[in-house]
Symmetry: C2
């Protein structure tokens, strides 16, 4: 497979960094091709808007969707976005590596979605979900949490991780047609012992080795707990 790892963490020596490095190594050893988008190192601009485009067609009223469709057709995205879009087109599989911040992606990764998943490029009206433009691609989230796993139960203090990630799984990845594999979650990574971290990396290695044969989740509009 051709695999794109989209990675967001401000500290290269973090556990997220270790997971990203492990994934790159294990996946290449398994014969896959790997590219990495290290968003913090790239100083990726998280803010979608006029700066996505070489030129603006309508300078009197900035209509983001119209400009996205136009830029898809005439190649008018800025090089920073073109580079990322080429990687997405290239990839069979997109792996997101990030710390869960406020029940969601860090803003820099949300910005990658906002800008990359441009109308025309990643979806069109009625070309979404099962008929989505990226329906031949697969995706998976690999993440760390600050809180321990016991807080992430349906009846726990925070709620289940599947419910929390639903807006990403369903509203971002499945929306553009991707098949989404179950997430890999390293709970409480910040305060984990060296042994716990080693165990997480070992378990992650196993997940990565079987990623090609892992079944996608059956996602619906309803959050998992409500199904």
């Amino acid at each position: 497979m051709k695999i794109l790892i989209v990675y967001a963490h401000p500290e290269p020596k973090s556990f997220n960094g270790a997971m990203k490095d492990l994934a790159s190594q294990v996946l290449q050893e398994a014969g896959h091709s790997v590219q990495i988008s290290d968003l913090y190192s790239l100083d990726f601009d998280a803010v979608g808007g006029v700066n996505d485009f070489m030129e603006i067609a309508d300078t009197k009223f900035f209509n983001y969707l119209n400009e996205q469709v136009r830029a898809t057709n005439d190649g008018g995205f800025v090089p920073e976005l073109k580079t990322e879009m080429d990687k997405v087109v290239w990839a069979d599989f997109v792996l997101f590596q990030f710390p869960l911040w406020w029940f969601s992606f860090p803003a820099i990764m949300k910005g990658w979605i906002d800008r990359m998943f441009a109308m025309g490029f990643s979806y069109e009206i009625r070309r979404n979900f099962e008929s989505g433009i990226f329906r031949e691609k697969r995706a998976m989230l690999a993440l760390t949490t600050g809180s321990p796993s016991m807080l992430f139960r349906s009846d726990g203090k925070l709620g289940s991780i599947e419910d929390i990630l639903h807006h990403i799984h369903w509203g971002m990845l499945r929306y553009v047609g991707m098949d989404v594999l179950p997430p890999f979650v390293a709970y409480g990574a910040a305060r984990a012992t060296a042994e716990q971290r080693a165990a997480y990396l070992e378990a992650y290695k196993e997940r990565l080795r079987t990623v090609e044969t892992t079944s996608a989740m059956s996602l619906l509009a309803l959050p998992p707990s409500a199904q």
Copy 2:
């Protein structure tokens, strides 16, 4: 009340801009004090990390939470964040005005949360939810969607807006202790007719006039559809 409007849209003449202007006007006419954080006009940096701080205590390993706690104690946040933090401390009520992008905040608004809701400043271990630091404050989302309302039903193509917003309502606003009012949603704003837009603004005006007496939602860890 003292009201902070946090507003994110790349086009000032957008319907989001009109909703922000209306809110500012109506709330001031009702006797409230209003401040506005116009994130696109501020060119607000969405990316949380080392640039949040005047100095870094541990330059060998950037631990975001540790630096946040330290900066809360010694006033070490950069002026851009201090200014926003002062507004949050000042406000009784925080109103978020934004277009729903990919089932969530635009990245610039998620970045405002990532950077503003610093550990120490907005929460501490065991100081969250009902014992949260901001438990005397209230918040509300006012948003537009691209898709029409018929797609936002529990059994619809996208799912209910309450489920979609759950990660914000519960995981961001309620987490820091805020009482959260029901959202105001202008569905399909981009393709609405002038009459529909006028009707939305009229309905929004009514919501704003009664905002002081509106009851907060009863939020739980479970998404609304699963309760």
